[in-house]
């Protein structure tokens, strides 16, 4: 199949899926140009003619990059993110820019300035977030894979809600150059796939060190793993803190099914403990906003993006008017939190303490996944299946708790993925697999075998 034919097909699907509000920018012209570029390549790349949705906080030069914010309305980047550059060089095509929570802050994609995204399996429900647009486009069969970004679960959580595969690599495995910063010590470009294989192939191409990102890790690019047929000898740990007694029964049933399948495939299951994970959400909501408050200071109306001038006409009023009207409520809330926790007199009590706790959370994982520990951890990705739109928008803390099982892994910088393991009354249930740093090949190989064995769309109870 030529790239031109794929592009035409994707264009038709994008048009059909308009009701999801999952895209922010796409055009038939851009798609055709991408197809011409790929059909004109002298050799077929590893991702030949693979159409990708790209979360709109990853910069591309062909389309605007708005981060789902009014403040960057119409902003077009003069450079392309390293990850996208590598994917395009391997023959992938950027099909569209996907909707997201503003600046990736949210767990439901209800915080986009350009409207919420619908979950393709139930339009009344959210697709999760912040990469909800990318997740929805994969779930709706518009594209087979999509780029999202994770700061604290923003790919795994929507993957779980939409019933697709979502993989977050080890921090530093994929260059952040061109990913618009939110929480720089946590941010990872991550990937959704219709299958584990799709996600593996995309991750393999975009991984590897980048001289433009001082935090990218100097290791050779990841190799997509070969298929395995048995899990004999594999040790899987179930951290007891991630299976609370009030866990949603559908989620519990999905995990039970996964554990049983792991056993059948030869894996040994044991219970382990990650005692500091219970502090992950509060720790995350200090560190991520602190970094965000500084990262978002550049949107001041001076050089690019939207500018508003206040009534006083001076520079301070320009800042106030631009930022006051350009940022949505959730972004403003996090800037305020971040500014507060770094302020003189509060730094030690909040930011420094959070860094200490972050180290303890990471240490738990290193011990459990260390030499005498287990190979992988299995947990639910989310405490419940996808919730209804509007259900949590009035209560930020309830919204933050939607990430209770994914946050700690981000703080520890480890690779993890969410795999669909069944459905509860039609809603997808995701299981999270977590590995040690740079153990993505094993993580992906196990997930692919589980995927083949489990199916993933059967009712779990």
């Amino acid at each position: 199949m030529t790239a031109a034919a794929v592009a035409k097909d994707v264009g038709a699907r994008l048009a059909q899926a308009a009701g999801l509000n999952a895209t922010l920018h796409w055009s038939a012209e851009c798609l055709e140009a991408e197809a011409r570029r790929v059909d004109g390549m002298s050799t077929q790349g590893a991702l030949h003619a693979l159409p990708l949705a790209v979360k709109d906080n990853i910069v591309t030069i062909e389309e605007p990059t708005t981060c789902g914010s009014r403040i960057l309305e119409g902003y077009v980047s003069p450079f392309t993110a390293t990850a996208v550059r590598r994917l395009r060089a391997a023959g992938a095509m950027v099909a569209c820019k996907a909707n997201l929570d503003e600046f990736a802050m949210g767990s439901s994609t209800e915080h986009s300035a350009y409207g919420r995204v619908n979950n393709p399996l139930d339009h009344e429900r959210v697709p999760g977030g912040s990469s909800g647009g990318s997740a929805a486009l994969v779930a709706a069969d518009v594209v087979p894979a999509a780029l999202g970004s994770e700061t604290g679960g923003s790919v795994r959580q929507p993957a779980s809600f939409c019933g697709v595969v979502g993989v977050k690599p080890t921090y530093g495995r994929v260059s952040r150059y061109g990913l618009v910063a939110f929480g720089s010590s946590l941010d990872c470009i991550s990937v959704f796939g219709k299958t584990v294989n799709h996600a593996s192939r995309v991750l393999a191409v975009m991984s590897g060190p980048d001289p433009l990102d001082a935090t990218s890790v100097d290791r050779p690019p990841m190799k997509a793993p070969a298929a395995i047929s048995s899990l004999a000898g594999l040790k899987v740990g179930l951290p007891r803190e991630y299976f609370p007694s009030d866990l949603h029964p559908g989620v519990r049933a999905g995990l039970d099914r996964t554990v049983a399948t792991l056993r059948e495939l030869g894996a040994t299951i044991s219970e382990v403990s990650l005692p500091h994970s219970k502090y992950a959400v509060p720790t995350y909501y200090i560190i991520a906003p602190a970094e965000a408050a500084a990262n978002l200071a550049r949107y001041d109306g001076v050089r690019y993006g939207v500018r508003r001038v206040g009534p006083e006409g001076d520079i301070s009023s320009l800042y106030r008017a631009t930022r006051g009207s350009g940022f949505g409520a959730e972004v403003r809330r996090r800037i305020l939190i971040g500014t507060y926790v770094l302020s003189a007199g509060y730094y030690d009590a909040y930011y420094r303490k959070a860094q200490t706790v972050r180290a303890l959370i990471a240490q738990d994982f290193h011990q459990v996944l260390g030499a005498n520990g287990v190979d992988l951890l299995l947990t639910p990705t989310t405490p419940t299946p996808a919730f209804k739109a509007g259900e949590k928008t009035e209560d930020p803390v309830q919204m933050y708790l939607a990430d209770i099982f994914v946050c700690a892994i981000s703080l520890a910088g480890l690779p993890a993925l969410s795999l669909p393991v069944g459905r509860d009354r039609g809603l997808p249930i995701g299981a999270q697999l977590i590995a040690g740093a740079f153990e993505e090949p094993r993580l992906l190989a196990v997930a692919a075998l589980l995927e083949r064995t489990l199916g993933g769309t059967e009712e779990v109870r």
Partner: protein, 476 residues
């Protein structure tokens, strides 16, 4: 009441790199606005900083030249504030873990003699851009060419005790940094900037008074003026029973006065925190030692050696060692065969004047060495030698020997008694009254006659030869 002044200085120097601190843009001065910019130094969404290894190397050299302990691990931090010349809304600097600490600077205090001022810390950071108020009528324009230029900030201990000492500290610091080839330290181009903290206390007190920070100091002379004005203001306040409030002040070079910029209550909370885009800067001891080994001889050691090896006076050694290029030139002239003191006299005199005017030495060391030998051999008078030195031929490397140039210019010294005799005769005819007075016993007029002979000979006459001829002819 006797007051003691306490001063600490914060000096920013631009590191001599070709590219910026965190991107590849040029650091050239004076290019058209916003031409040396890229996504990184413009702070565009998605751009990331990558440290410039040469900037780290130069900052390390500066730290070692100032006797600092270079830390094996230092951390970049974000300093948060809003200003239109600051593209990211924060400056990447270093805060609680700077590149280097615990150094010192020795200088000659005009009041206290040789003294040592502690250096608290040296850290690296990026510069901000520039606001242009005169380019667009009624508007302020932003030029971000300078944004991201690498700087070292050098913070002194409060060890300085007078405005004059502050000035010598700065002169000495500039000498060291120029020697180490860390910075060109040009205040005119903004590559060296000074903020000064000053307080007063009763002589003998061990606790510090309330300090004020003085900014907008655009020359070393103005640092001294501003600190003098601020010291006097503080003493005036306290002696009239008022309190000093901690504040930041701006110096106005026109009026010679300081004015309030902001009080402590209005000061920024910069909310420093480690920059998550930049891993801690880790330097191995071997690398630090390598930088130490690569440091050139510094001004103090140079001065010492000029005294010991060449027998120069301390004062002459100080003048020559003030600039690495001057000292190198001096040593080259001596190496080419000049006697050391003669070389020193030339280097501090006509050669230095030429260097200051042209920015480099025009006469090759071997040429100057030859000239000093011609003077020593009485082939060229000291006076004539100056004219030879100033001639364009001497600076031209394709010309023949210095002696040939002196001959061509008719400036070789005449020692021949007959030739001297005819100039002497002319002088005696021209000044009959003076001849009469001399013969009447006013013998000190001999100097007058020598001078006239030199003048008449246009400096060519050998003064040592003139005197016996004069004495002979005046006796007659």
């Amino acid at each position: 009441m006797s007051w003691e002044t306490v001063i600490g200085l914060e000096v920013h120097v631009q590191l001599l790199t070709r590219s910026k601190m965190f991107c590849g843009c040029s650091t050239a001065f004076g290019d058209p606005p916003n031409t040396n910019v890229c996504p990184v130094c413009l702070g565009l969404p998605g751009a990331l900083p990558v440290p410039n290894a040469q900037a780290i190397r130069l900052a390390t050299r500066a730290a070692l030249a100032l006797g600092c302990t270079v830390q094996s691990r230092s951390v970049f931090a974000r300093k948060n504030y809003f200003y239109p010349d600051l593209p990211k809304g924060y400056q990447i600097s270093q805060f609680d873990l700077p590149l280097a600490t615990h150094g010192w600077l020795e200088f000659d205090s005009p009041e206290r003699g040789r003294m040592r001022c502690g250096i608290t810390r040296l850290h690296v950071e990026e510069d901000a851009g520039k606001l242009l108020h005169d380019r667009v009528p009624g508007k302020t324009a932003v030029d971000l060419n300078r944004a991201g230029t690498p700087l070292a900030e050098i913070v002194s201990e409060p060890d300085i005790r007078s405005p004059a000492e502050a000035r010598v500290y700065l002169t000495t610091l500039k000498q060291i940094l120029a020697y180490a080839e860390v910075s060109d330290c040009s205040m005119e181009q903004g590559s060296l900037r000074v903020d000064a903290n000053i307080s007063i206390r009763k002589a003998g007190d061990s606790t510090f008074g309330v300090k004020c920070e003085v900014k907008n100091l655009n020359s070393f002379a103005n640092v001294e003026r501003a600190l003098t004005a601020e010291r006097d203001r503080q003493i005036g306040l306290v002696e009239s029973g008022q309190r000093i409030t901690q504040s930041t002040l701006l110096f106005n070079a026109g009026t010679g006065q300081v004015r309030l910029l902001r009080s402590k209550e209005e000061s920024h909370d910069y909310r420093y925190f480690p920059d998550p885009d930049l891993p801690p800067l880790v330097l191995t001891q071997a690398w630090i030692d390598e930088q130490r080994g690569a440091l050139p001889e510094l001004p103090d050691a140079k001065r010492e050696r000029l005294v010991m090896a060449y027998g120069l006076s301390l004062e002459h050694a100080r003048v020559i060692a003030a600039d690495r290029a001057i000292a190198s030139y001096f040593e080259a002239v001596v190496a080419a065969g000049a006697e050391a003191q003669a070389a020193a006299n030339w280097v501090m005199g006509d050669a230095l004047a030429g260097y200051n005017a042209a920015g480099h030495f025009t006469v090759a060391p071997a040429r100057l060495a030859e000239l000093t030998r011609l003077v020593a051999q009485n082939k060229v008078s000291q006076q004539a030698a100056k004219r030879v030195f100033a001639s364009e031929d001497l600076a031209n490397p394709s010309t023949t020997s210095t002696l040939a140039i002196a001959e061509k210019l008719g400036l070789t010294q005449v020692s021949d008694t007959d030739a001297l005799g005819s100039w002497v005769d002319e002088v005696l005819v021209a000044f009959p009254k003076e001849v009469e007075r001399y013969r009447a016993g006013e013998t000190k007029l001999i100097a007058f006659f020598v001078g006239q002979v030199m003048k008449r000979s246009q400096g060519k006459a050998d003064p040592k030869g003139v005197q016996p001829v004069l004495a002979e002819k005046l006796r007659a």
